[in-house]
């Protein structure tokens, strides 16, 4: 662990990303401390510019506080990002592990399914799923998970395929170990590094997808999110640029920070790759 941190720390950008994400998480957790009111509430004169009428980042056409929306929206974006990623990583590991380990027909059929899901344009599929299930946090998480797992499945399959022929796995067979235990105890821990790296990048993608869905009007109408703010502001682009701009910056910073963390994890967990450069 100390070793891991030493290697991670070497990538300064990744440390910066980590600090930023921690700050954003703190911001999300303490949202009601700074902005105790419901972000949907009218707080003053509509379409006030930044730093006018008591608004830090301005207000939208209904007089809602943009800054409050951003702080409260952080919770939604992060939550959806993490939960959707965890769900899709689990689906991906399940498919990938069985396909890679058992090979043959199991592999063929599981990979056909994966291939189908990979071929379908994922964002349109997500739109469809949310539209059909009606927008809510749950349906958004499901939609993002359903469109993001194939990547994990392929990765895990590749790792399992390579590792199952490793001699240490064969040694487990000669000791009489069961397949399930070999998969779980012997192989899976050895492919956690790439899964963690890919997973961290998926959180970023999930946040982007969520904001895109919200922008198209497919966000949960009862919960404040960054995409919702941008969607609400886009018709007033000429008169109130700030409504769109600041939530966009929030997304940009968050996703950037997560991507930096992902690269740092990659350097720290797969040190071999870094040495080449």
């Amino acid at each position: 662990m100390a070793d891991f941190w030493r290697r991670y720390r070497r990538n300064r950008a990744a440390v910066f990303g980590l600090v930023v994400i921690i700050l954003i998480i703190i911001m999300a957790l303490t949202a009601s401390l700074f902005y105790p009111n419901d972000p949907f509430r009218l707080m003053g004169k509509p379409l006030s510019g930044p730093l006018t009428n008591g608004f830090l980042l301005g207000s939208d056409s209904l007089g809602r506080d943009v800054a409050s929306g951003i702080v409260h929206g952080a919770k939604t974006s992060l939550l959806i990002g993490f939960v959707a990623t965890i769900v899709s990583v689990f689906i991906g590991i399940f498919f990938g592990a069985f396909a890679g380990y058992f090979g043959g027909r199991v592999d063929d059929s599981l990979m056909r399914v994966t291939e189908i899901f990979q071929t379908i344009p994922s964002f349109i599929f997500a739109i469809l799923l949310v539209a059909i299930m009606k927008p809510s946090i749950g349906s958004i998480v499901i939609a993002i998970a359903v469109v993001s797992w194939p990547g994990v499945a392929r990765l895990v399959r590749g790792e399992f395929l390579a590792l199952k022929n490793r001699e240490f796995v064969q040694a487990c067979h000669t000791l009489g170990m069961s397949d399930f235990r070999i998969m779980l105890r012997e192989i899976l821990p050895n492919c956690l590094s790439p899964i963690i790296v890919v997973g961290s990048l998926m959180v970023a993608t999930a946040i982007l997808i969520e904001s895109g869905l919200a922008f198209l009007g497919l966000g949960d109408p009862n919960i404040m999110s960054w995409g919702f703010l941008i969607g609400a502001g886009r018709t007033m682009l000429r008169s109130a640029w700030w409504v769109c701009t600041f939530p966009g910056v929030a997304i940009l910073i968050t996703v950037l920070a997560i991507n930096l963390i992902g690269e740092g994890l990659n350097d720290a967990l797969n040190p071999r790759l870094k040495e080449r450069q």
Partner: protein, 328 residues
């Protein structure tokens, strides 16, 4: 067996593999349709305002909606195969007519985006890898990192704010200037002017992606043994980079370009709705608002098929780039 006949066999195999995927997508489509609350008759009845249950029953019979699910599925499959994607009650037009109407606009946007993103991505990645750890590399890397993290719609909106509203260089929306009825060359210029911002917006993310991939791929290839051999042969660094490394480094980027086409279509929904570009994405956005599920599913189906087709083309290109293909 000669190489060309090997490629022919390979393409044939890939074509056949595409068929079950398309059938599976059609089936998924059908079930999504059934998953949705209410069927076409409910929609029609909603349109009409009021309809008696008897009348609705009658309608269901007419559309075959009273049949058991498997029968409905077969009918649906048959319809799709004969290019009948159903009827859009909003637009009062068959879905396929609507889609084909808008296809050209999306095709134009996609083509220009792919050329821009892949072309510049490869170029920038190459440049960054060759000037490793210099200011050029750093600028390209930071640029790629930031664009990779920016939401598409936000880029679009900011483009409009900066280049249309403030600078007035490009029009804010649409594909043509509706007020001026341009013809001939003027029309081409007009469309091109409208095309610039949507293309840049849609391509930025993929540009960043390909830049990062190309850079990483070049660096990986530079570490391979054959590069040492090439140096030991006394070749110039130019030759090593442009002939040996470049061709090997392109392979994963080409594969990725194929994989990303699906995502590109998804991105076009957002970009087209930001710029009111009259393509399939815009149509999808409209149908979403109008709750026109038939139309949305039609677009979904067509875009999936498009991905299958593009992947096939990419595979064929790959065949020519990588002589080892029959080994895999």
């Amino acid at each position: 067996m000669t190489r060309s006949s090997k490629i022919f066999r390979y393409v044939g195999k890939r074509l056949l593999q595409g068929v079950p995927i398309i059938i599976a997508i059609v089936v998924i489509n059908f079930f999504l349709l059934n998953l949705a609350e209410g069927d076409a008759v409910d929609v029609l009845a909603g349109e009409a305002g009021s309809a008696t249950p008897e009348y609705m029953e009658q309608l269901r019979k007419r559309f075959g909606l009273d049949q058991p699910l498997p029968v409905q599925l077969m009918v649906y499959l048959k319809n799709v195969l004969s290019l009948d994607l159903g009827y859009s009650f909003r637009h009062e037009m068959p879905v396929n007519a609507l889609i084909f109407d808008r296809f050209a606009a999306t095709g134009l946007l996609m083509t220009s985006t792919i050329i821009l993103a892949v072309g510049f991505g490869i170029l920038l990645g190459l440049l960054a890898a060759m000037r490793l750890n210099t200011w050029k590399d750093n600028i390209i890397t930071v640029f790629a990192l930031i664009t990779y993290a920016t939401p598409l719609f936000w880029v679009g909106l900011m483009m409009i704010v900066v280049f249309s509203l403030n600078l007035g260089w490009f029009p804010t929306s649409g594909m043509t200037n509706v007020a001026a009825f341009y013809e001939g060359w003027d029309y081409v210029v007009d469309v091109s002017r409208h095309l610039v911002l949507p293309t840049i917006t849609l391509s930025l993310f993929y540009l960043a992606l390909y830049t990062r991939m190309m850079r990483a791929s070049m660096l990986e290839q530079y570490g391979q043994d054959y590069v040492v051999t090439a140096r030991a042969k006394g070749l110039t660094e130019r030759r090593i980079t442009y002939v040996h490394v470049l061709r090997n480094a392109l392979l994963p980027v080409v594969t990725m370009a194929g994989v990303q086409v699906g995502a590109l279509i998804g991105g076009s929904v957002i970009v087209e709705s930001v710029f009111a570009w009259p393509g399939l994405g815009m149509l999808a956005f409209e149908s979403l608002f109008a709750r026109d599920l038939n139309l949305l599913l039609g677009i979904f189906l067509l875009s999936s098929m498009l991905v299958v087709a593009v992947n096939l083309i990419v595979d064929i290109i790959y065949c020519f780039l990588d002589p080892r293909i029959e080994v895999n």
